[in-house]
Amino acid sequence: MTIIPLLNKWNSKMTDRERFNAQMHYKEVDRSFNMEFGYWDENYTLWKMFVDNGIKNERQANKFFSFDKIECIGGNYWMSPPFPNIIISENEKYQIHQNGDGLIAEVKKDGKSSIPHYLKSSVVTPSDWAKVKKERFNRNDNSRKINLEFFKALHSPRGERDYPLGIHCGSMIGKIRDMLTFEGICYAIYDYPHMVEDMVETACTLVLDALDILLPEFDFDFASGWEDICYNGGPIVSVDFFRDVITPRYQRINKKLKEFGIDIWYTDCDGDVRPLMPYFLSGGINCLFPFEVNSCAHPAELFETYGKELRIMGGVDKMKLGAGREEIDKYLDTLIPLVKRGGFIPFCDHRCPPNVPEADYLYYLDRKKELFG
């Protein structure tokens, strides 16, 4: 499908790759890196500009708005094979199904976005875990083999690339939370601490295996990860557990990244990350993404606390995007010194929700260009 861009790419004197690396390392840039995190599924059917132009996903939207290019590759770090996705029962409003993580969940059938209502996990006790580990976490499984030629055909591996390429470093605890449920992981850490640590070690080993294959073959610009282990009241696991069990695994991954010159590592973690910040940083994660403002703080607060050791990608309060143009203006003004400071790429602090009118979203993109473009 040919996408006719709605907006022009911001004027550039640097490549996207040069700009990303310079901005993340506090060097001079031609302008800010221009990117967004994406949109709720509803936006693709509600926003007229998406409907009229056949824009149905994030990749198409990125081209539609002519954002700067940023890509990431990685290995198969999780259950393989996953649990089969099956429908257990359904009525007019809801469907109860088992997802790939083995969770039994209730979902609405009206297609509106809401995190599923999780009812039961397939992994509760150490014997459940032993079975799942044996059947679905075999590090030598064929499905974990990395097709280097495929990736090299997609992304030029060395210096000639004009966009930043990242290596995905998976999740040390977020995916485990997904498998056990929010409450389940809290109880498991108290009831079966050795089981949870073995889960974390398994996740770490799978990432390290993939890094050994990928790192020598590509010049990566950054590393990425995903945790989502906080909510607006703080972390979902205890700080002590995070420090003692998760951070050492980050450090092992970071050691490999550093050997190959990768010194920017962001992790996707919503919610109030502040209690975990010292342990992210000591593990080598030095960039937050997408940094939810309403559940945490203004990005300036964290920069004030952690200085240039910390970078942030995101940090544009989605609540302000939905609150009208005056609020958008006021909020973006607060980000001017942060973009000037460097180590900060502003974009909506999660996928843009459908309560943001499309006209206001375009206004936001225009204002961002005026201020940072």
Binding site: S114, I115, C186, Y187, Y231, G233, V237, S238, G322, P353
Partner: protein, 210 residues
């Protein structure tokens, strides 16, 4: 150390088995059920709630303590009934229509029960009519509404409108909470209170029963 102090200490640490044993010991020592509940269990949960509010502990520690509380109350329940001990009050808790998130709602329920409030849990994706019906049926004095999404927080206003329309708005206090909800939003929809977290919700709810 007295058995009540031991109950308090073990509950704060979330040691459910120890708390159960100690509650049995307290019953056998002839300590009134009301005292075991108030001075052993509820006072411990108050400390847990306070530490949570002050960011000294986080959700996992609260969940573990609440699990111990539930186990202890199950042991104590026959004595509470026998000795005619009544709950502090009754509250309805639910997540509003369109929203399936139940973690925040469950935390609020745990903390309310932790301070001695009986909870009627209507679950998730609950519309105004169901809440009106529950208010009429249960005689609850407090309604706690949770919403996690910017797209569903407006359903909290729909509930307040439904309560008004049914003529029961003045018989209940409506509390709202959830990640996107703020004090100004709560004010704008005519809620009686906004709670920033589950521990605050319990504290505020208690004031409505005094």
């Amino acid at each position: 150390m007295s058995v009540l102090l031991q109950i308090n200490e073990m509950l704060q640490k979330g040691r459910a088995k120890n708390v159960e044993e100690l509650v049995n010991q307290a019953i056998n020592e002839g300590i009134p059920a009301q005292s075991i509940l108030n001075d052993g269990l509820i006072s411990a949960m108050m400390v847990v709630g306070q530490k949570f509010k002050e960011n000294k502990i986080y959700v996992p520690e609260v969940l573990i303590a609440a699990r111990a509380m539930n186990a202890a109350v199950a042991v104590l329940q026959p004595e509470l009934v026998k000795q005619g001990v009544k709950p502090v009050g009754k509250a309805i808790v639910c997540t509003v229509k369109g929203d399936l998130h139940d973690i925040g709602k469950n935390l609020v329920k745990m903390m309310l029960e932790g301070v001695g409030i009986e909870c009627v849990d209507l679950g998730v994706d609950v519309d105004g009519d169901a809440i009106v019906e529950a208010v009429k049926e249960t005689g609850a004095n407090v309604v706690c509404l949770s919403a996690l999404l910017t797209t569903t927080m407006t359903a909290q206003k729909d509930v307040i409108d439904a309560l008004k329309e049914a003529g029961v708005r003045n018989s209940v206090k409506v509390m709202v909470g959830g990640a996107p909800v703020t004090q100004s939003f709560a004010d704008s929809i005519g809620a009686d209170a906004y709670a920033v977290d589950a521990a605050s919700a319990a504290e505020i709810a208690l004031t409505f029963f005094k």
